[in-house]
């Protein structure tokens, strides 16, 4: 039987506010346990939460970025359950009237085609603390620094049909939130956490199969592998005449498998009700328009412009718009050199190779976009050839000069285009290579094409790489074919 995979995702994005969603405690990462958990975060009696405007602004910006409706009124509700890292006994969240309504995210597939994933809604909520189960004399330790950190939970429709599409969707969300600057998007530190709903159904069937939810998958790679494992598990189960049980499963990256997490027969009953401590949040037109005015150009808009206006390939446009620092670097290079194709080649080629080799983020590149732009300009105006350009790049990378021009001058890399000078070098090479010249002249046209490489190499060497290779080639051919 042919099976179809159906995937929906709930992505929790930690918002990059300074303070918590309902209190003035800091959200800085890595502090000593419980030094950033105030009376409100601890749920002590008599405290009153007050909503953080920064978190509201970020949620609205996200909503506008995915063309979602932003309802005039949204509400906070209490989701009730008991766990030691949730001292109040409830999580303040939103359900009936979330801050962001239906929207859409465009994803880029492996074949460079595009697909729209519908967003059901996105809502604001607070994070819980952390339970540490290492041995504290047989007890569990609780750190509440994370309690009250603002999260935006983005809930998709079940629109994805493969693990690759799910990864493309998370990448698209990652790009949007980091472009907006509303999250650092650091998956390793838990700034983006995914719950994946997976089901399978016979191809052509309308109704969805029973789904399993995989909790807390925290890297692009694990999302893909967790889904692949889960799909295979469900298909095997169904083909053996079994049934998929609706349950929560956990992905174990070490064993590369998912396993059942909650086997309780009792379904969760969170008994949501409106939070009496928080009033309805009203956002007027002026506020929403004010947020809209702060939006930067978004990844999909950049990709379109790179492809359609700058004439880059779909692939190049996708890579260069994938992160904001990458896009900004590329655009700064382009502003200096004026040639999009060359700028794209250098950023994705020589620069990315150096960055990857030394594991440096593009934002910390030792070669500035202005330096690279000037270097490319010198190639474009024939001051240097491609070979010399790589030398200049390496020198800039190693901080052996402050600008391309300075390095070109200091090292005498200026391209030799003077015909007389090149001819002199050619004559010398021919005079020093009688054997090769004789072989060349006896050879037929096809062989000569290959053999000329030797002479070009010798002349380039004689010029210390500065001769114009096209000129060398043309003049050599003339002189060798003469006799």
């Amino acid at each position: 039987m042919q099976w179809e995979t159906v995937i929906g995702l709930e992505v929790h994005v930690q918002l990059a506010t300074q303070s918590k969603i309902f209190s003035g405690a800091s959200t800085a990462f890595g502090a000593e346990p419980n030094t950033q958990a105030c009376a409100i975060d601890l749920g002590l009696p008599g405290v009153l939460p007050v909503l953080n405007e920064g978190a509201v602004a970020m949620a609205v910006q996200f909503g506008l970025a995915i063309n979602a409706e932003i309802p005039e009124t949204s509400l906070f509700e209490r989701k009730n359950y008991f766990y030691p890292d949730l001292p109040k006994g409830y999580q303040t969240s939103q359900m009936a009237q979330p801050i962001v309504g239906k929207g859409e995210v465009e994803i880029l597939l492996d074949d460079d085609s595009r697909k729209r994933v519908r967003i059901h809604h996105a809502h604001l909520e607070e994070d819980a603390g952390k339970s540490l189960h290492e041995d504290f004399h047989g007890m569990t330790g609780v750190d509440l620094n994370r309690a009250g950190t603002p999260l935006l939970e983005i809930v998709s429709e079940p629109d994805m049909r493969s693990a690759r599409e799910a990864v493309a969707y998370i990448r698209a969300l990652h790009a949007i939130v980091t472009y907006l600057g509303i999250s650092d998007g650091n998956m390793a530190e838990g700034s983006m956490r995914c719950d994946v709903n997976v089901s399978v159904r016979p191809k052509g069937q309308e109704t969805f199969g029973t789904r399993a939810e995989i909790k807390n998958v925290n890297s692009f790679r694990f999302v893909e592998r967790a889904i692949e494992f889960e799909v295979e598990r469900q298909i095997e189960l169904l083909e053996d005449g079994g049934k998929v049980v609706q349950e929560t499963r956990l992905y174990d990256p070490d064993l590369d498998e998912t396993r059942s997490m909650r086997t309780k027969e009792e379904a969760n009953d969170y008994r949501y009700f409106p939070c009496p401590d928080l009033l309805p949040v009203m956002l007027d037109e002026a506020y929403i328009e004010h947020q809209r005015a702060t939006l930067p150009e978004l990844p999909s808009e950049k990709r379109d412009r790179f492809e359609n206006t700058l004439g880059l390939s779909a692939y190049d446009a996708g890579v260069l718009s994938s992160t904001r620092p990458m896009a900004e670097y590329f655009e700064a290079v382009l502003a200096v050199c004026g040639d999009a194709k060359q700028a794209a080649n250098w950023v994705q080629g020589e620069l990315s190779a150096h960055l990857n080799r030394e594991n440096i983020d593009i934002g910390n590149s030792p070669v500035t976009p202005e330096q690279l732009g000037e270097l490319i300009s010198r190639v474009l105006d024939d001051t240097i050839n491609g070979k010399a350009a790589k030398q200049v790049f390496a020198a800039l990378w190693n901080n052996e000069g402050t600008s391309a021009d300075e390095i070109i001058d200091a090292r005498g890399l200026k391209q030799v285009t003077d015909t007389g000078a090149i001819e002199a070098m050619i004559d010398q090479v021919i005079a020093e290579s009688p054997v090769q010249v004789a072989q060349y002249r006896e050879a037929d046209e096809a062989k000569r094409g290959k053999m000329i490489g030797y002479f070009v190499g010798q002349v380039m060497k004689a010029s210390r790489g500065t001769a114009n290779p096209q000129q060398v080639n043309g003049l050599l051919k003339q002189k060798l074919d003469q006799a």
Partner: protein, 96 residues
Amino acid sequence: MAIEHADVLRAAHLARLGLDSDTEAAAYVDDLSRILEMVDRLRAIDTEGVAPLSHPLDATQRLRPDEVTETNQREAFQACAPETSDGLYLVPRVVE
């Protein structure tokens, strides 16, 4: 809507309330049934076209600027905790 003994036990479990005896549970069956009777009477009212009331106060949420205003008061807060260690609150072991 009728409420039964089992419903009371379930609600008590969800709220982590310990009921001492069947007599106590029976008293809750009675009390909660009367509350639900009142809800049924409210339900009978025609509310077509009336927006749901999310909060009894006719006011909207005030927003706070995104600034850190709290300082570390861990020592004070942990003074009233039953047990702490290495800055952590200790609770009976949670079995995953």
